[in-house]
């Protein structure tokens, strides 16, 4: 390869020097719109706005449910809604999504019943929805492990001659795990149609980005695998949607995987059980409050005359209905059936499990008897 074309290859893989941004924090369009990306339609932005209002409400409601003891724990994505909604809106229904524990809002946006989304955190079962039907993998806890699954799924689609894409969501901290590395490398070598979407919310629980990486940006990891990369303002829904739509199209067209890093911020603590005051100060959180993705999009749409007071009120109303429904249904007590513990370990239980199943049945019968006494 000539030095010139080498230089072009390298430039083609590196992200833009600063995050792609369409809309400034106050909602006004940036002076120079980023080259190479198509701005989403007003229609799409209005829909995104509605989804963000719903997502935000779902999130605050879920946090409230932890206080009422209805959820053991909830990892909020407040502040990250541009990413949560942008990711889902960039996908087709037949594409696959591989989310983490923090991506509940994305799942609700995808159309999964909010109660099923919360089954895991309610403690009823490990995954409450049907991943096969929704094309959403179970929310993944072991960090970065699902990035490989997404790569495998993308590769499976490619081999079956389908044009589905897989999108893997991760946080900034998860990029440090070996599995993240292996996934990007496998995807690049196989040219699997997968989009790696890193929500860099600046913290991995308490550990700040500077202790996680010394890279100029996480998006610079792409070139080491020959993976096209981009970084985007993660609180600018317009930019997130534009960049992810482009990335998905790239992957779908058979040009291989894409890595996108979104710069965003986790407004709440890691989960309701976490105490964020131990590792970050209020000013920082406040500063990011002014970058709120929802009010930014709202201001933007209003300035463009694409959103009326009535529209906003309608979205709020829909959100309140969602929250009310969620409250009602989450306040209903559920019971889990202990005998189900043996049902899904294998397609057919082993003889050992049958014995243990009988043992538990006997134990439960005995307890029932004792309680009758």
């Amino acid at each position: 390869m000539s030095v010139k074309s080498l230089r072009q290859t390298v430039q083609g893989l590196l992200p833009s020097l600063t995050p792609v941004r369409f809309v400034a924090e106050d909602g006004t369009p940036v002076a120079k719109p980023p080259a190479g990306y198509r701005e989403p339609s007003v229609q799409a932005l209005r829909e995104a706005y509605r989804r963000m209002v719903l997502g935000r409400r779902f999130d605050t409601q879920a946090t409230a449910l932890t206080k009422q003891g209805r959820l053991a724990v909830y990892p909020s994505s407040r502040g990250q809604e541009a990413c949560q909604i942008g990711a889902v809106l960039a996908l087709r229904p037949d594409d696959w999504l591989f989310p983490t524990y923090r991506d509940s809002v994305a799942l609700v946006t995808r159309g999964i019943d909010p109660v099923e989304v919360l089954t895991l955190l309610r403690g009823d079962w490990h995954c409450g929805y049907d991943p096969a039907a929704t094309r959403v993998a179970p929310q993944c806890t072991p960090l970065a492990t699902q990035v490989l699954h997404a790569t495998g799924m993308a590769e499976a689609q490619r081999r079956k001659g389908e044009d589905g894409v897989a999108m893997a969501l991760t946080g900034d901290g998860a990029t440090s795990e070996g599995d993240f590395h292996e996934a990007l490398n496998f995807a690049a070598v196989l040219r699997a149609p997968v989009v790696f979407f890193v929500q860099n919310n600046k913290y991995a629980i308490s550990v700040p980005l500077a202790r996680q990486t010394a890279a100029p940006a996480l998006a610079y990891k792409g070139i080491g695998y020959g993976v096209r990369s981009e970084q985007v303002d993660g609180n600018d829904l317009v930019a997130v949607l534009a960049v992810l739509t482009d990335a998905v199209a790239h992957a779908r067209a058979g040009h291989g995987p894409v890595l996108v890093e979104a710069h965003t911020y986790r407004m709440d603590a890691h989960t309701n059980a976490d105490d964020a005051t131990r590792y970050r100060d209020a000013e920082e959180v406040e500063r990011w409050g002014t970058a709120d993705p929802l009010s930014r999009l709202e201001a933007h749409l209003r300035a463009r005359g694409a959103l009326t007071d009535a529209d906003a009120a309608a979205a709020r109303e829909e959100a309140e209905a969602l929250a009310a429904d969620l409250r009602t249904r989450m306040n209903a007590d559920t019971t889990a059936d202990p005998m189900e513990l043996f049902d899904h370990v294998y397609a057919e239980p082993t003889p050992q499990l049958l014995e243990q199943r009988a043992q538990l049945a006997a134990e439960l019968a005995e307890t029932a008897l004792t309680q009758e006494d």
Binding site: T141, P142, R278, Q352, L353
Partner: protein, 345 residues
């Protein structure tokens, strides 16, 4: 020396924190690192205040990668330090499994003792706290089956303190398993006075003539509660707390079973090929002619750890232990459960 003076109520979490503090204070080579162990003090607060009091150089956060943490510790131990690393939860130690099995366990042997790894891998483990999947695995068998590792799990605050001090002082790598559900259990103890037995010795937590219950870590309080209940029915159970799984204290266990003639083993982990299997196997090997009944095991089922609402059904509790006691053939009747195949399945 420990900060607390005289017998006061301490939790296991406090005892562990104190042990780390005392070790950091007494030995410059001791370092504490892992995910969120710095300013946050760890998700269970075991390292609370260490960065503040000993500085970033002694207790620090690492990037998020468990093989990285253990591999870094191997290099630092080779370089003269005594790293004490934390894996955030049991299942999150698995990414480090190759480093642990292929290096931590083997470097001394590989180099004929020229390189040694005085390091401790702390792992909050096991269930009973309503944690979601991946946060409640009982992983002790993986480590106990790996020669070159020592495997420890305390059941009391006092043991937590002394076993951790001993582990840090040990010339060899120690996997230190902390039963999460006991972190907040309180007990009266004076950490400045060593009451704990030496490393490698099991403790007889309760004496009894009728049967020996061997337990460790999270199962010890359950075994003791069962012994209490059995006593009410006239059966005296002796409860042995292993404290260290490797090395294993055959002497104490064997002596007890030879005396009682019956033995039960309790573990939270899924039973198949677990540590309880090892205990049962070695007890019957060594005490066969003293045994009036088979050594029975009481364990979790051979299933992935259940969701929070179902963990009570999985974990061995007092009732499951008492059921097993009933099958120890005190009435001289052989257990026919396994003969009645059809009935069981």
């Amino acid at each position: 020396m420990a900060e607390t003076t005289q017998a006061t109520k301490v939790t296991m979490a406090q005892a562990l924190n104190t042990a780390l503090r005392d070790a950091l204070r007494e030995d410059d080579r001791v370092l504490v690192f892992g995910e969120d162990v710095g300013p946050l003090g760890g998700v269970f607060r075991i390292t609370d205040g260490l960065t503040r009091d000993f500085g970033e150089e002694r207790c620090f956060d690492t990037p998020l990668a468990e093989a990285g943490i253990v591999g870094l510790a191997v290099g630092m131990a080779m370089g003269g330090f005594r790293p004490v690393v934390e894996m955030q939860f049991d299942a999150f130690a698995y990414p480090a499994f190759e480093q642990i099995a292929s290096h931590v366990a083997k470097l001394r042997n590989r180099t004929r003792g020229r390189l040694t790894l005085p390091m401790v891998i702390r792992i909050p483990y096991a269930g009973g706290i309503g944690g979601v999947e991946h946060h409640c695995d009982s992983s002790e068998a993986y480590y106990a089956h790996t020669p070159g590792l020592k495997v420890v799990t305390p059941a009391t605050a006092e043991d937590a303190y002394w076993l951790l001090r001993d582990a840090i002082a040990d010339p060899d790598p120690v996997v230190f398993l902390e039963p999460k559900k006991l972190y907040w259990s309180r007990e009266d103890t004076d950490l400045e006075r060593r009451g704990a037995l030496p490393f490698g010795r099991a403790a007889v937590r309760r004496e009894g003539r009728d049967a020996t219950v061997v337990a460790y870590g999270p199962s010890v309080p359950v075994a003791l509660a069962a012994a209490e209940a059995a006593a009410a029915e006239g059966i005296e159970l002796e409860v042995v707390d292993l404290r260290t799984i490797v090395p294993f204290d055959d002497e104490t266990v064997t002596a007890s079973v030879r005396r009682t003639g019956r033995c039960l083993v309790v573990q939270e982990a899924q039973g198949f090929a677990g540590v309880g299997a090892e205990i049962a196997a070695r007890v019957q090997e060594r005490c066969f002619h003293s045994l009036a009944a088979p050594v029975l095991r009481v364990a979790g089922f051979d299933i992935p750890y259940p969701p929070p609402k179902l963990e009570h059904a999985h974990l061995p509790g007092v009732d499951r232990i008492l059921d097993a006691v009933d099958r120890l053939q005190f009435g001289d009747e052989p257990d026919t459960r396994h003969l009645l195949k059809g009935a069981v399945a």
